[in-house]
């Protein structure tokens, strides 16, 4: 079956044992995103240390409900961005978005940048599941923008 290509062991591990899950204080930005086609939901908080793009992502906490792909993606995302500067973390987000847009074509995967997130390469072959993988990333971008005061 091709299923193993999508459901990499890394993804199933994060799904079964998600990292950084649960809503925590303090936080400066919060976002609630839904996938209206399937009903997956995430509420995500960002705690920054410092100001603007050089601020450090001190914590990302979240409460979410959804499929294995969306849940694993939230776990991988939170683990990747915590400890990075906002600028670095946004670059990782951009790399992940680019990976999702490859539609399964061979891509130069930068494992140093994406780390566990390279496991989602197989997901990009399934257009219906790309939104699942991106849900947490979009919520994180939104919450970070709010934390930085760029959005209301």
């Amino acid at each position: 079956m091709q299923l193993e290509a999508m459901y990499q062991e890394v993804i199933l591990d994060h799904y079964r044992n998600p990292l950084h899950k649960g809503l925590r204080e303090p936080f400066e930005g919060e976002a609630h995103h839904v996938n209206p086609t399937c009903g997956d939901e995430i509420t995500l908080r960002v705690h920054l240390d410092g100001a603007d793009q050089d601020a450090t992502v001190a914590d990302v906490s979240y409460d979410s409900m959804g499929c294995s792909i969306s849940q694993a993606s939230a776990s991988v995302m939170a683990d990747l961005v915590i400890g990075k500067s906002v600028k670095e973390a946004m670059a990782v987000g951009d790399a992940f978005l680019a990976l999702m847009q490859t539609r399964g074509r061979e891509a130069d995967l930068d494992e140093d940048v994406l780390e566990d997130a390279v496991a989602f390469a197989g997901v990009s072959k399934y257009p219906a599941r790309i939104k699942c993988a991106l849900l947490a990333w979009m919520a994180w971008k939104d919450a970070t923008a709010r934390a930085l005061g760029e959005a209301t």
């Binding site: 079956m1 299923l3 459901y7 199933l12 399937c38 009903g39 997956d40 499929c67 294995s68």
Partner: protein
């Protein structure tokens, strides 16, 4: 196809029926045969429907209801002939059949006619709603028969109320008499739930509505394709359905309404084709159904839907219904014997159609659907455009199998086997 006598002496032969559907001959995901269990979302099309659309374009295409040339006459005949076939299919007369884009537009047509009634003159006043008036829906409605009523209430100040659901997915009718009361102006409900499969007791609710002077609109998008429907027997005032769920093309839907109501209703969409006289100072409108059919209609699609009605009539709607009932009963049996599977909806075939929704313990429906897809079994996952049902049952989403004329007992076996494979893959069984 089955014996084309329209009777119910011979049962439907799905393997023969399947030969009429070119798409069902293809393979998916590495050469696997396609097992299509998503007709509730949209149905596949038999050659007879595809041929009818193609023949229209190849031989008769022209703008309908205008022009004096031969093609215009032929196109108009084909279009109006389709209207007559569709009317006969649901026991109506052609003048009560309004063509729309889909069932959603049909519901909106009525909701906006009610909005527009406030400023459309004395004849339309009976449709106007405002503060103190109530619209009643149910918790099992498709968004298409819920959101337009929420919006009508928001625009007019009327109040939206709804029937709740019992734990086995039936309508809770305990408060029928208080819910449908002298303030109720319209009751809008499904004739067959697209998620639960439930067929509510429409006659009972319609009788109560009639007693208090309320109108009844039925969302028949899941019933007209799957069971014999006679609009005159249900006690409804309006009934809506879509072509694409009954072997017909997309882009064509139907609103049936009682003639005297359609005659008093103001239009929803205005423009060409629906006018009587136009002056710069204002215009007058044609009688129904043309009053509600502004702009160039979906002509070839109407012809295709007419052909779909012919096809279903030849199979016999009694036989279609009996066939799906046997598939549904078998699916309920096969699925409930799998540990961890929970049926969302009635557990028996009584007053129930062929949409079978379920959850699988500890596996999200998206993941169940992914495993099934890998096996060539195509089902729907998600909230099926009826989100309040998921909230009612405390679940994020469901997996739904829905059956039609070409499905077999072997398809149900493949579904059950796929669910077990998903459990194996995710290590939950």
């Amino acid at each position: 196809m089955a014996e084309a006598d329209g009777g119910c002496g011979v049962s439907l032969l799905p393997e023969e029926v399947k030969k009429d559907f070119p798409l069902l001959q293809r393979t998916v995901r590495g050469g696997r045969p396609l097992i299509y269990l998503d007709s509730g979302a949209t149905s596949q099309k038999p050659l007879q429907v595809l041929d009818a659309e193609r023949a229209f374009y190849e031989r008769h295409n022209a703008a309908v209801h205008r022009g004096a040339h031969l093609l215009a006459e032929e196109a108009t005949d084909a279009f109006e002939g389709a209207r007559a076939k569709i009317a006969a299919f649901v026991g109506a007369v052609p003048g009560e059949i309004v063509f729309t884009k889909n069932a959603t537009e049909s519901v909106n047509l009525v909701a906006y006619a009610m909005s527009n009634a406030a400023t459309a003159g004395p004849e339309a006043a009976r449709f106007a709603v405002g503060p103190g008036d109530e619209i009643v829906v149910t918790e099992m409605e498709h968004h298409a028969n819920l959101v337009p009523w929420q919006e009508l209430c928001r625009r007019t100040g009327a109040t939206l109320r709804w029937f709740g659901l019992t734990d086995d997915g039936r309508l809770d009718l305990d408060d029928l008499d208080s819910l449908v009361n002298e303030r109720t102006r319209l009751v809008a409900l499904t004739h067959q739930s697209n998620v639960l499969g439930t067929v509510p007791p429409v006659e009972l609710i319609a009788a109560r509505a009639r007693a208090v002077g309320a109108l009844v609109l039925l969302d028949a998008a899941q019933s007209v394709p799957h069971q014999p429907v006679d609009v005159t027997a249900l006690g409804a005032d309006f009934l809506v359905f879509s072509g694409h769920k009954m072997l017909g093309p997309t882009g064509i839907g139907v609103l049936w309404g009682r003639r005297e109501l359609l005659e008093a209703m103001p239009p929803f969409i205005t423009g060409g084709s629906m006018i009587e006289v136009v002056r710069m100072e204002g215009s007058t409108f044609l009688p129904p159904p043309q009053r509600f059919e502004a702009g160039s209609p979906s002509t070839a699609q109407a012809v295709g839907l007419g052909a779909a009605c012919d096809y279903l009539s030849a199979l016999g709607m009694d036989r279609v219904h009996a066939h799906e009932e046997s598939l549904t009963g078998y699916a309920l049996e096969r699925l409930t014997e799998i540990p961890g599977v929970r049926i969302i909806g009635p557990g028996t075939v009584e007053a129930r159609g062929g949409a079978v929704s379920f959850t699988v313990a500890d596996i999200h429906p998206h993941d169940v659907g992914q495993v099934l897809d890998e096996l060539g079994v195509e089902v729907r996952v998600g909230h099926h455009c009826a989100w309040p049902i998921c909230r009612r049952f405390g679940i994020p989403a469901t997996t739904r199998a829905s059956f039609y004329v070409h499905n077999t007992l072997a398809d149900v076996d493949a579904l059950a086997e796929g669910v077990r494979q998903a459990q194996k893959f995710f290590g939950t069984a």
